[in-house]
């Protein structure tokens, strides 16, 4: 930059005292105390900024520090007369020659012209305005770059992401806690149910073993033996009949056969009862086994359901959190892009990047020279 603000400010300070021709004070020109220009001191209000710039600009131009915009036409004409050293009618000499105004600052800065004449007051003001605008722009670029470098532009998003992460941690912990409670309840319920089931069937088995139901076991039918009630009588009359004894034997045999038939019947009933008892015991044991197996299957099913429920809850929760995080990251990215756009629009350089060299398909410059040019542009 050809214009050194420090030098410019110094020059203004060296020209604090501006003499005005005696007898001209009655023209009503208001003079102000010299102001040292500084971009940081530029008021933010537009009117105040204009006033500040005009006062500091006239002072730096070697004129009486004044606010031209606040003058009446007559005052402005008198001020111009003094500044140019000519009267409004073209005669008279001012105390401040025009040559005191600094040379055209635009000449060496690529703004065209190239003349060596002194700047007019309006040009000087335009220069100051330009310098101020450049300072504001540079300040903005610098702040944008600082925001990018420090990542402060993500301030809200990072805070929101931290809140979301805390919510996620609590939510995941809550889901895990609920799952643990469910598993605990399932396991406790299984243990209790298995204990009750075993208790019930153990009681049944004990009862069945203690009360075997075999009513016909060991049954022996009583046989009424037939004797000869006429034996004494026959002996008394000397009657000896072998067929009488045969009758006795036949009757006893018939009685034994009848008892034997019933005994066989009882044995059949006894075996049926034994089989029934064994069947009942086996039934109880199978029922107990089936009950335990069913409880185990139900436990596995309930645990699977709990696991599935937890997974679904986690999936839904993570999906929701991811969506919110994505929205925050997207917002941060939009902010980042806005900063990039603002820096680019202001003519700044994105930190960590270099401006691409202008396309020159037919260039004969070597890559080293192009790199050096790019490095110079980085400092713009």
């Amino acid at each position: 930059m050809a214009i050194n603000e420090a030098n410019s400010t110094s020059a203004a300070q060296n020209k604090k005292v501006v003499s005005i021709a005696p007898g001209k004070k009655n023209l009503g020109v208001t003079t102000y105390a010299p102001i040292t220009y500084s971009p940081a001191n530029v008021p933010q209000n537009a009117d105040r900024a204009e006033r500040y710039n005009e006062i500091s600009g006239t002072a730096e131009a070697g004129l009486a520090p004044t606010w031209i915009g606040g003058m009446t036409p007559q005052e402005r004409a008198a001020y111009m007369y003094t500044a140019r050293g000519t009267s409004p009618t073209g005669s008279g000499v001012g105390t401040t020659p025009v040559s005191n105004i600094e040379t055209d600052p635009y000449a060496g800065n690529g703004f065209g012209g190239g003349g060596s004449g002194a700047l007019s007051a309006s040009d000087s003001l335009a220069l100051k305005k330009w310098k101020q605008e450049q300072a504001i722009r540079q300040n903005s670029i610098s702040q944008y770059q600082d925001m990018l470098n420090s990542g402060s532009y993500r301030g809200n998003q990072d805070a929101m992401l931290k809140i979301l992460q805390d919510m996620q941690n609590r939510g995941v912990a809550g889901i895990g806690s609920a799952y643990d409670r469910s598993v605990g309840n399932i396991n406790a319920g299984y243990d209790t149910a298995l204990g009750l089931t075993n208790q019930g069937y153990n009681a049944l088995n004990s009862y069945l073993k203690a009360n075997p139901n075999n009513q016909y076991a060991g049954y022996t039918p009583q046989i009424a033996q037939v004797t000869n009630p006429m034996q004494n009588y026959l002996q008394a009359y000397g009657v000896q009949a072998p067929d009488v004894q045969a009758q006795i034997d036949a009757s006893n045999q018939a009685a034994q056969q009848g008892a034997g038939a019933f005994s066989s019947f009882a044995d059949l009933l006894s075996r049926a009862s034994q089989q029934s008892d064994m069947s009942r015991l086996a039934e109880a044991q199978m029922a107990q086994n089936l009950a335990s197996t069913t409880l185990g299957a139900n436990k596995a099913n309930y645990l699977g359901q709990a696991d599935q429920t937890r997974q679904q809850a986690l999936d839904a929760f993570y999906a929701n959190m991811d969506q919110q995080k994505y929205a925050q990251e997207q917002s941060a990215n939009d902010r980042y892009q806005q900063l990039l756009d603002s820096i680019i629009a202001a003519g700044g350089t994105i930190p960590g990047q270099t401006k691409p060299a202008p396309a020159s398909p037919n260039t004969t410059l070597s890559p080293d020279v192009i790199a050096q040019l790019a490095a110079r542009q980085r400092g713009f």
Binding site: Y216, P229, V244, Q247, A291, L295
Partner: protein, 143 residues
Amino acid sequence: MAYDPSAYEARRRALTNNYASTGAMNAYQQFLTGRTNQNNLVSMNKQFEQQAPRIVSSYGQRGLVGPGVQSGAFKRAMADFAKNRIDETAKAQQSISEQGYMNDYQNKQLNDQYQNDLADMEAEKARQIEADAQELMRIRAGA
């Protein structure tokens, strides 16, 4: 239905009462039948004992039996009488024995049914406890 021990105890009492009353009724009926059969046997024997002298007297009046006289007809008649009495007595005793067998069978069947009912009730109780346990687990699991 949730497991209710009192309901099973009530059923047990009902079964026991029914078993007891039925058994008592059967026993009384068996006693009556047995006594009747026994009386019939005693009465039959008494009749045979009363008939025996008449047979001897009948053959004695015809001179077929007496001091120093024993005819073949008398011996045959006495032997037939003895065999008839033995046969009738055996049949009566057999009838009484068979009635006793039937009584025993009836009693054992009644007891068998009673024990089966009790065992069925105990099994039902165990199944009810199992069902309640399954339901309890389902509730604990929040299903």
